[in-house]
């Protein structure tokens, strides 16, 4: 007899419908075959399904079982066809009816229970878009799938429960979406108030976080670059609803949502180590998976020891920084992942690390420093809006002169300011395709940044004195826009340009 179960297949973030056809023939030698371009994980489904059925005290039919995953020319990946295949076989054994307008999705364990499976959110979204009634997913993935409103998400424990449900012996209540426990920003490693000194670096991070600007921090070992970067998530406002869904989709497709987890509300913070491969950073594989840049979408990509990353890996960042997305083309698939992230890079000032340090002497020769800087320079630096020096803090100097009590603001105080600036930008760009000041291109800069004559002449002077390139010039204007937004000023004034110039590329020698 032939049974049809509906499931899905993923290619990047797009989902297509897959009909899982299970045919159990009365004639022929007993076999169990899966056809329809299954990859290794799909083909191994046979063993999982057979064993799970037997371990659930069900009789596995010794007949000729053929499973077809249609359409047959699309390669299938993943272990989530276990459930639809098992349901197809069970309906033969137990003779229950499989609901037509439902998607089955989940990986089986050998004991017959269902495991947390990646991609549940994408499957649920697909069900909703195609006006289906319900989706059956493993219990631990139900929270994730229930983010999608308007369809019933049935959480499943194991095979026996499924049988009882279809025999109408028990009832399974659809999971009701529970907004994620507002993971307090306490999950952040450091609070900004814990960082001693470094007022300029903190201010720079505030501006960067407010306008989504990329930032480069240069300083000696131990000056606090890493600590500052780790404190950054604490000052970033939470994701809004749209952003949250965008991010969760990527995480769902990469299998980065923990069992029982649901919507991601905090901004991602990714800090890959410098031994990362190009595919690891930007994404890749024959069945392309998202890379760190996509996992950092709407959040922060922190590259510590920026100089140590291979040149080719760094250069691969250029296009995604410009476009906010990256298309990975392979012979069988072409996948686009979004990658609108804020780049935070940190590096030592010279090979030994102690250039300009007050306490330790730099042992590098000029030539070594020039060679080291060459690795830093180039088109990627051109795409970084803020350059900031992070000197080693002299504790003695800190302790006196701390009379100003408002100096050490906490992360949440800063976050409130930043959230306001994000709102201003949302309002400003409501008719544009961008979210933040940093994404403005020439045309939008002219449209949204009005400069008075004082500001213009200051920029002209600065271009001469500081030898700014045309691109740096525009970056200064974008930064000044964010600085003015922080003061909630309509127009960019001279003083905003002046402050923005503190973060120009040449400020670190």
């Amino acid at each position: 007899m032939l049974f049809k179960v509906t499931s899905v297949s993923f290619s990047g973030l797009t989902t297509i419908r897959i009909d899982v056809e299970v045919n159990i023939a009365d004639k022929g030698l007993p076999t169990f075959e899966i056809v329809g371009l299954p990859n290794k994980a799909v083909a191994e489904s046979r063993e999982r399904v057979r064993t799970a059925l037997i371990n659930s005290n069900l009789k596995f039919p010794l007949r000729r079982i053929t499973v077809n995953l249609a359409p047959g020319d699309v390669p299938k990946y993943g272990a989530f066809y276990d459930l639809p295949i098992a349901v197809g076989i069970l309906s033969e054994i137990k003779g229950f009816h499989i609901p037509e307008s439902s998607i089955f999705f989940g990986e089986l364990s050998l004991d017959g229970s269902l495991r947390h499976t990646k991609g549940a959110l994408l499957a649920a979204l697909f069900a909703k878009e195609n006006r289906m009634d319900s989706i059956f997913v493993p219990e631990q993935s139900a929270n994730e799938a229930s983010v999608v409103k308007g369809i019933d998400v049935y959480p499943l424990k194991d095979l026996n429960q499924i049988i009882q449900y279809f025999d109408s012996k028990i009832e399974i209540k659809p999971t009701i979406y529970q907004s994620p426990v507002q993971e307090k920003q306490g999950t952040v490693d450091f609070d900004m108030s814990e960082v001693m000194g470094q007022e300029q670096a903190k201010r720079a991070l505030e501006i960067a976080a407010a306008g989504g600007h990329n930032i480069l921090m240069i300083g000696s070992p131990g000056s606090g670059k890493t600590m500052l970067a780790r404190a950054l998530p604490g000052i970033m406002p939470l994701l809004n609803e749209d952003e949250s869904l965008e991010v969760t989709k990527i995480y769902s497709s990469a299998g980065n949502i923990p069992p029982g987890g649901s919507l991601i509300v905090t901004r991602p913070f990714r800090s890959p180590h410098h031994i990362i491969s190009q595919a690891g950073l930007v994404g890749g594989g024959t069945h392309p998976q998202p890379g760190e840049i996509s996992l950092a979408h709407r959040g922060v990509l922190f590259l510590d020891e920026f100089n140590e990353f291979p040149r080719s890996v760094i250069e691969a960042l250029r296009q995604p920084i410009e476009d906010g997305k990256l298309t990975i083309s392979r012979s069988l698939e072409r996948v686009t992942y979004p990658s609108r992230f804020m780049l935070v890079a940190a590096a030592n000032p010279c090979p030994c690390g102690y250039l300009n340090d007050e306490t330790r002497k730099c042992t590098c020769t000029k030539r070594e420093i020039i060679r080291y800087r060459k690795k830093l320079s180039g088109p990627i630096l051109d795409r970084i809006d803020l350059h900031v020096d992070v000197p080693v803090v002299n504790i003695k100097k800190l302790s006196h002169g701390f009379s100003n009590s408002n100096k050490n603001e906490t992360s949440s105080e800063i976050r409130i300011r930043i959230a306001k600036v994000r709102d201003i930008q949302k309002e400003r760009f409501k008719n544009e395709l961008i979210h933040t000041n940093s994404e403005m291109k020439n045309k939008l800069i002219r449209k949204y940044v009005r400069l008075d004559s004082n500001s213009t002449s200051m920029l002209m002077d600065a271009a001469k004195v500081f030898q700014l390139s045309a691109r740096s010039y525009l970056k200064i204007i974008k930064l000044a826009r964010t600085i003015a937004d922080l003061e909630q000023m309509e127009d960019v004034e001279e003083k905003h340009i002046a402050e923005a110039l503190q973060y120009r590329p040449g400020v670190i020698e």
Partner: protein
């Protein structure tokens, strides 16, 4: 190929006084004998510190500004800084190469090489063509540097350094040696301290050297810079920087203001050329220091 033979009347007189003058001097640029009338040799470490950089700029710019030719060895560090400072002050400078005259060593200082030649300076060497530099050509070159001027100024030097070798040669030639004092914690100030201990003159300002040439320190003639357009807050920043150079965080803490405000003020002051940024710290320019 351009060279001056030892028999030529245009051969630098001072170089004839040494024991083993090079028989031929290959050169680039226009050979104008007036460049050798008043000369000062400047040597120092390749590992120039910020201190060395600032002192070189201060001393050499005043001396070269007074019309004295600066002779040095074109190496990166103090040498290159000295050539640079001389050029900035509008003076002439001579680079003595340790390699063939056609070679530029180090190569990445091509720009400096061009600027020396474009500003009536000279590049000279006793080696023709593109002879590569070798360990033994450096001390040979140093004798030319020491020989070309009546006075040698050592700015920073390690214990075993080319600068000290040059000083030794200069002593043998009975040249006057001036050395710049520096902190004893710095390895490149030990060499100059030793020189001072053994009887070299200590330098406390460009005037010390200029009087040797019968000139007064032009620094005293500097017009005081007018501070117009500087508001009270900015003036306060300038005052704080008189005592010691500071980074921006320290300035903000000393003045007791928000970093955003200080940042804007610092940009104003930098654009007006009242401040210079060097190694993460802000320094007052000389003219402003005289006013505050």
């Amino acid at each position: 190929m351009n060279y001056i033979d030892i028999k030529s009347t245009e051969y630098p007189y001072l170089l004839l006084q040494i024991k083993d003058p090079p028989p031929r001097l290959y050169f680039k640029g226009d050979w104008d004998t007036t460049i050798f009338t008043e000369t000062l040799s400047v040597v120092g470490s390749r590992r120039m510190t910020r201190y060395g950089e600032i002192i070189t700029d201060n001393l050499v710019s005043s001396i070269a500004g007074a019309g004295i030719t600066i002779v040095s060895g074109f190496m990166y560090g103090i040498d290159a800084q000295a050539h640079n400072a001389a050029l900035e002050a509008g003076g002439r400078t001579i680079a003595v190469m340790p390699c063939g005259i056609e070679k530029i060593h180090p190569e990445y200082q091509l720009d400096l090489h061009t600027r020396i030649l474009n500003n009536n300076g000279l590049v000279i060497s006793e080696y023709p063509g593109d002879t590569p530099p070798a360990l033994w050509t450096y001390p040979r070159r140093n004798r030319i540097i020491a020989g070309l001027a009546p006075i040698l100024l050592v700015i920073e030097a390690g214990i075993k350094s080319g600068a000290l070798i040059t000083a030794k040669i200069a002593k043998r030639y009975n040249k006057k040696i001036f050395a710049v004092p520096g902190p004893l914690t710095s390895s490149v100030s030990i060499g100059t301290a030793i020189l001072i201990k053994h009887g070299s003159q200590i330098v406390t300002g460009a005037g010390d050297i200029l009087t040797e040439y019968g000139k007064t320190n032009p620094e005293e003639l500097f017009s005081k810079k007018e501070l117009y357009g500087v508001n009270a807050n900015q003036k306060e920043i300038l005052k704080i920087l008189v005592d010691e150079p500071m980074g921006i965080d320290d300035i903000a803490r000393s003045v007791g203001k928000q970093i955003s405000e200080i940042g804007a003020d610092i940009t104003f002051l930098s654009l007006k050329n009242h401040l210079t940024l060097n190694g993460g710290k802000y320094y007052l320019v000389k003219e402003v220091k005289n006013v505050i």
